[in-house]
Structure formats: C-alpha cells, structure tokens
C-alpha cells in the first residue's frame, strides 16, 4: 500500500471521481490558479480545465446555493469552502435548501453535492478562523456528515461522498493535511456509517471525533503505559450516519465511555453520544459518560490561551481515569 499525505489522498479521490464521471465538477475560492488554500486541488485545473475546476468569487452562500441548483439539475458538484468558519455564511443554503429540498418536494428531486472544508484550532487564527462545527451539521436531518482522520479514510470517504446522492458535509482538518498514511490501491470508495476501532482494549471506550481520534489514540498509549488502563479507541469516521452499534458494543464490553471532540461542549457531539449511550446501554455503564471538549469560549489568538482551549492527550487521560473514580 502506498503511503501518502491526507491532502494527496483527497486530491487523488477528486481526480479519480472527476475522471470517472463528467458530471462531477469542483468550484470554490482560490482552488484553481492558486491551487487551493491548503493545496488539496493542486493540479486539477491543469488536468480538467476551467469548465470543471472553477475559481469563484468570495460569495459562500451563493457558491453553495449554485452547487445545490446544479445538483438538482443533474450535475454532481463539489464545493470547496476555504474553511468551515466561512460555511456559516452558507448555512442558509445548506440547511434551508440542501438538507430540506428532497423532503420538502416529496422526494421528487435529489441534491448530490459535496461541501468540503477543513476545520480546527491550533494555528493561532483567532476567533473567526479556528472553530470546529461538526455538531452544527450533525444537528441537521437531510445532511450526511463525514469527519475523516486518516489518508485512507480521506480518499475512501470522499469517493463515497461524491458518488452519494445526498448532500454531504465533508469535514477535513487543517492539522491533518500533512499527515501521512497508507492508502489501499484498489481505489474503492468506503461506506458511510462504519466506525473504525483504532485500538482494542477492555477497560474504557474512547470515541474521538475528527482530529481528536488521534488525540484519543495518544491518550490511550499513555493510559496503557502509565496507568495500566487498556482503552479501546473508536473513530466514528461519519457522524451521519453514525455507527452506533460499534460504539455500544464496545461500551458493553468496557462499561465506560469517554467522548472527545474539539468543538464546544453544549449541544456537542459528546452531548449527543452521551445521551445515546445512556439510552441504549444504561445498564452496562459503571460510570457517567465523560466528555472532553474544546473550552466553552470563542477561540483566543494568544498561543498559550489557544492551546489551553482545546483538548490534548492529558485531558483525555484525566477524563478516562475519572470513569474509574469511586470504584
């Protein structure tokens, strides 16, 4: 299996899907001549030309809206937004149109569109450029939400997203673009709704979302090395659909659960998962489900404050140990 960077894996998925289907095209700010703010679309303009790789003005709501319209009329658009923060400008089109249109019109039409964008803190971009919003999109029926963390998943899930007939919110992570990983050669799309068990363990289940799957894996190593706790680490990979079965199965084995996410605590992925776990596996729990989230603040610019405001392995270790307290 060749190793490649997360961004290269995404690039390859885009190339392959555009080669396979003429109806697939990509548009976004600075994706063509500039090759993408994070260089995911490098070389695509040269390969596919301006008809299929379209630089757009800075008009998020309209770009996404145009993507939805094109999808309704039979194309398969991929819209790149520079970061998830700017998707807030397109929230109306995403929620009121992309997610609702099929239902609202009684199933007569579909919206096969992908909105790709990265999220995440850690680069000192301050309160307007650093957030993690998977919880916002998870909230909305009608959308599919992917949060790939490895190069293989990035490629496999993006291919699946492009072939899917539903609107997909495809959330990448700024800190993952440079990460290398093995990518299978067969080029097959992966399936949505299949979580990955990144590490097996009997003592506590740790679910890590987006980049936090890696933070959780690090914490698990430390739990094993320092605390004799064997954690099972689960990366859900997609939040809608959610592979709840894999998570519940693990919780029934470990009797403890920790959910780690970068976004805010209230109404977060962890809040949702904690509810689902206690509803469906209450009798198996030996401790309350613990959550590790970003701090409940707009992301500060200053380096020490910013680093203190999103989860690191230490936070996860503490939370995991807390589920053993009082026993």
């Amino acid at each position: 299996m060749p190793a490649m960077r997360y961004r290269e894996a995404l690039n390859q998925a885009l190339r392959e899907e555009m080669e396979a289907d003429e109806r697939v095209f990509i548009m976004g700010e600075d994706i063509g001549v500039f090759q993408g703010a994070f260089k995911v679309t490098q070389g695509l303009l040269e390969r596919f030309g301006e008809k299929r790789v379209r630089d757009t003005p800075i008009s998020e709501n309209t770009i996404v809206g145009a993507g939805i319209g094109a999808a309704m009329a039979g194309l398969r658009p991929i819209v790149e937004l520079m970061t998830i923060n700017f998707s807030l400008l397109a929230l109306d089109q995403i929620v009121n149109c992309a997610a609702a249109i099929r239902y609202m019109f009684g199933g007569q039409v579909k919206v096969p569109m992908v909105v790709r964008m990265p999220q995440g803190a850690g680069h000192q971009l301050g309160p307007t450029h650093s957030h993690s919003f998977e919880a916002i999109y998870l909230h909305v029926p009608g959308l599919l939400v992917a949060v790939p963390t490895t190069a293989a998943d990035a490629r496999g899930l993006l291919k699946a997203a492009i072939r899917d007939d539903n609107p997909v919110i495809f959330i990448e992570h700024e800190s993952l673009y440079g990460q290398r990983g093995e990518v299978p050669e067969n080029g097959e799309p992966m399936r949505f709704g299949e979580a990955a068990v990144r590490r097996e363990g009997d003592d506590v289940t740790i679910v890590g979302v987006s980049r936090m799957a890696l933070t959780a894996a690090k914490a698990a190593e430390e739990l094993a090395a320092e605390h004799e706790v064997e954690a099972e680490v689960i990366d859900p990979r997609t939040l809608r659909p959610l592979d709840l079965d894999t998570i519940l199965e693990s919780v029934r084995k470990t009797n403890r659960a920790v959910v780690v996410e970068e976004g805010w605590p209230h109404g977060g992925v962890g809040a949702n998962l904690a509810a689902l776990i206690q509803e469906q596996a209450f009798d198996h729990l030996d401790a309350p489900v613990a959550r590790v989230t970003g701090a409940d603040v707009p992301m500060p610019y200053s380096k020490p404050l910013e680093q203190a405001a999103f989860p690191h392995p230490e936070h996860v270790v503490q939370a995991a140990l807390s589920t053993f307290r009082d026993l």
């Binding site: 600075d30 030309g49 450029h129 404050l305 680093q307």
Partner: protein, 507 residues
C-alpha cells in the same frame, strides 16, 4: 517573439491577420505551459487558420479574431514575463495590471504640518509592516499575517480625511488603519505577539485589532463581514443625531459578498452617513480582479443600489485624501452615502505563506516604481516643503518607534490562563445561573463567573498551555529529549515552522 511590437510596425491592413496568426501560435504555446486565464477560448485555432486561408475574411470574423488575439496577447505577455532573463525595461509589455495613469488628479500640497504628519504615518506603517514580517519569520507572531505594504497612501489618505469623532471599520489587513488612527504601535505589536498589553488583549491577534478610544471599531476576519456592522454604526450616528460619520474599508474581493449589495441598499434607503472605501489591490488572495468580478470598475458597483461611487488613485495620498474628504462631506452633510474605490497594489503576498504564482515579479516592480511613499517624498522635496534629509529623519524615527514596539511586545506578558473565560459575557444582574463551563475535565470548571476552578482544571489548562511552547521552546524540547520523553511538540499540537509551510497559503 514580440507580437505587440511587431504588430505596431506593420501597416494596418495586415495587422489583424498577422496578429491572429502570431497570437494563435503563441497562445497555443502559452496555453500548454500555463492554461489558467479565463480569456482563453475554444476555436482560436480554427478562426486563425481561416484568417490565414483568405485575406477576404468577413469583417465580423476579423473582429472575433482580434478579440481572441487580444486574449492571446494577454497570455503571451504573461508567458513572456515569466521567461527568465526578460529585462525589466520591457515591463511595459510584461505586466498585466499597471498603476493607474488616468485615475485621479494632481492636488496642491496641504499645509507643511499636514504634509509631515502624512509622511510620518506612512513611514510608520511601512516600517511597522516590514518588522512585523520579520517577527513572523521568527515565530513571534502566529496565525496569518496580512501586510499592507504598498497600500499606505490609501490607508493614510483615508484616515487623515476623517474627524476624531468618526468611526472606522476595517478588514484583517488593518495594522496600518489602527496605526493611522493613532493606536500606539506598542499596542498593535503586542497584539500581534498575542500579549496582554495588545489592543485586543491578545485575544484577537493580527486580524482582529480594536481601539474604542480612537473609534477604530475593529478588524474583521470574515470577508464582507464588516459592511453590515458599519451600516449599524452609521445608524447609531444618525439615530443619536450626531455629526459623526463612518468609514468602512474592505477589499476588491469583498465586493462580491452578498453583504455588499445588501448593505448598499440599506444605507441608501436610510440615508446613513457612511463612506465605503474599497481597497482595490488587484487581487482577492490569488484571484485577480478580472477573474473574480464581472464589473472591474468597482466604483460602478454600488450605484445601482443608490450609493454613488468614485475612483481615486490609491498610490497618491493626496488624491485619496481629496476623494475621501469629498465623500465624507456628502455623507455627513447631505446624508448621501458614498463609495470610493482606491486603485492600489499590495507588494507582498496575500499573507506570509503565499508563493505568488498568480502574478509576475515585473508587475510588482512596475507598481513599486509608483511607490506611494517615495512619490510623496519626491513631491515634498520638489516643492521645498521637506528635504530628503528631513524625510530620512522621519523614516528613522518611525523605525525607532517600531523597535520600541517590538521590545515592548516582547516584554508584555501572555494572558493569564485563568482569564480564558473572561469577557465572554457582560456581568451584572442580567446573567444568572451557569452560562459557560469547561467540560474538558471531570471536574466542571465553573467558567467565567467564578474564577476558582478546581485544582484539576487548573492543571489541565496548564497542560494544554504547555503545548504553546512559547519562550524557551528549544530548551524544553532538549530537556524532553534528554529525559527520553516523547517530543510532544511533534504531536498534534502547534505545528513547527516546516509544518506551517506545509499548511499552505490558506487565508
């Protein structure tokens, strides 16, 4: 091959034909290496061939051929400009965007006092920006850093035309705006360094400067996000029946956001005292004006909404000053909102990590030759207002002030970790019960309201902050390696310099 020059010496009847042929060839060549322009169209080859087959080309066809030839020439110029060894003397041909010749007018110099003030401000901004760039390279500044070098006349001409009571709102490219408005360079640099003494207490950073006292109501990181806010500020001026007005600055790229049209309509409908200053620096990130806006005379873009526009030479501080003075007068006295487009250029990349593959060195050079500071200095010396030596002294003073700002910023403390939850809400009787909590630890952090977090919360905040790796970074790394501990810095925390590069230009 020099198609433009060649065509110039050819007599008129043959010009079209030869142009089309040359253009078709060079276009194909250029396209092979650099197929990026929007102007390239299908059918160039066949049309050119037809033109070659017969001299009796239908007039319409000839016209089309010429249009395509023009497009092809643009490609050729760009390709030429890319060619190594192309002399700078050829820049006339080589550049795609040139400084405005026909925009704006000559103006008499203001009082010597004002001339000095204007030069001082421009020199301060230039020096500040250059040092900020250096400090970014030294990782004293994080995140994105957008410099305004080249845009000094636009900034100072605008701000100097404002009254103390007027409000200013800007984008993320706003160090110069804050400085011109009078914010102390120490406070601006400290903000860039993320320190407590910064003008936003280290919370906002380079893109989010603020100075209420000087009525600088902020830099905003979301493109187009400041326009509606500015309308609201103008509403407040009007509502309170003051004589104050608002200036809202934004880029050419921002004129494509929905907020542009919506805000223009609102301020015109409500007759608000506001001036929009479009800093047309030719690019929105890596996308050139003509590739992002169908109407490239941006002063035309607001008129249909009821906001008349004017164009000024953004490289000439006096022209900007005159245009903004006039516009503010109309906005203030006649309650007729205005738009001013300043045609200018940014010398540096969009942000610090920008390979600038979308333009040529020659083009940048061409604009640098019209440098707003050098031009103004020449004018002052020529008119006997300020000698070159005086101007040099002003520059030295500016450099000194910036040195001090760096020193100040470096000494200023990072914000206290316990202040993480400060200033999310206004307190008083209005806010009760829990409002913000930190659930990252098993012990709930009481958040902003009560400072006394449990011990564990403090420890975890510190553990997180340790990833900031500020100050003795290398020292710590060495210690960790010495202890045989894993190097946390290479984890998923803050990326090192390499990785920062790796992150790409971003915005």
């Amino acid at each position: 091959m020099r198609p433009t020059r060649l065509s110039r010496i050819l007599s008129a009847p043959f010009r079209l034909l030869v142009r089309a042929l040359i253009a078709a060839t060079t276009f194909l060549l250029a396209r092979e290496s650099r197929d990026v322009g929007r102007t390239g169209g299908e059918g160039v080859t066949s049309t050119a061939m037809e033109a070659g087959d017969s001299v009796k080309v239908a007039e319409a066809e000839a016209k089309a051929a010429e249009a395509r030839a023009r497009a092809a020439e643009a490609h050729t110029r760009a390709a030429d400009a890319q060619a190594p060894g192309d002399g700078q003397g050829e820049a006339e041909r080589a550049v795609e965007r040139r400084p405005p010749e026909d925009v704006g007018a000559e103006h008499p110099l203001p009082e010597p006092e004002a001339c000095r003030r204007i030069l001082e401000k421009m020199a301060l901004i230039r020096n500040f920006e250059e040092r900020a760039g250096e400090m970014y390279a030294k990782a004293k500044i994080g995140g994105f850093l957008h410099l305004s070098i080249g845009e000094e006349a636009t900034i100072v001409g605008t701000v100097d035309a404002m009254r103390d009571g007027d409000y200013l709102l800007s984008t993320y490219r706003e160090h110069g705006q804050a400085l011109a408005r009078g914010t102390h360079p120490n406070a601006v640099m400290a903000e860039l360094f993320g320190r407590e003494d910064g003008c936003s207490r280290g919370r906002g950073g380079s893109m989010h400067l603020f100075d209420l006292e000087r009525r600088f109501l902020g830099g905003y990181g979301i493109v187009g996000g400041n326009l509606p806010l500015a309308a609201g500020v103008a509403l407040s001026c009007d509502y309170e029946e003051t004589d104050d007005a608002v200036v809202c600055m934004f880029g050419d790229g921002a004129s494509n956001q929905g907020t542009f049209g919506e805000t223009m309509n609102l301020v015109a409908l409500w007759n608000l005292p506001i001036v929009f200053l479009v800093v047309n620096n030719q690019f929105g990130m890596g996308t050139a004006l003509e590739r992002h806006s169908a109407v490239t005379d941006l002063s035309q873009k607001s008129a249909g909404f009821g906001v008349p526009g004017h164009r000024c030479n953004g490289m000439d501080v006096l022209d900007v000053h005159a245009a903004v003075t006039d516009a503010l007068e109309k906005a203030r006295a006649d309650r007729q909102p205005q738009l001013v487009e300043a045609v200018t250029y940014r010398y540096r990349g969009h942000s610090m990590a920008d390979p600038e593959e979308y333009r040529t060195k020659e083009e940048v050079e061409e604009w640098r030759r019209r440098d707003p500071i050098a031009t103004f200095r020449r004018r002052l010396a020529g008119d006997g207002v300020l000698s070159d030596q005086d101007a040099d002294r002003i520059d030295e003073e500016a450099a000194k002030a910036v040195d001090q700002a760096v020193e100040f910023a470096d000494q200023s403390p990072f914000p206290d970790l316990a202040s993480l939850y400060d200033d999310i809400y206004v307190y008083g009787d209005q806010v009760r019960g829990w409002h913000t909590v930190d659930e990252r630890s098993p012990d709930v952090h009481p958040g902003e309201h009560e400072r006394e977090a449990p011990e564990v919360s403090h420890e975890l905040a510190e553990a997180g902050a340790a990833y900031a790796n500020v100050g003795n970074a290398q020292e710590r790394r060495r210690r960790q390696r010495g202890n045989g501990e894993p190097d946390e810095d290479e984890g998923e925390g803050e990326p090192g310099a390499d990785e920062r590069e790796e992150e790409g230009g971003a915005d």
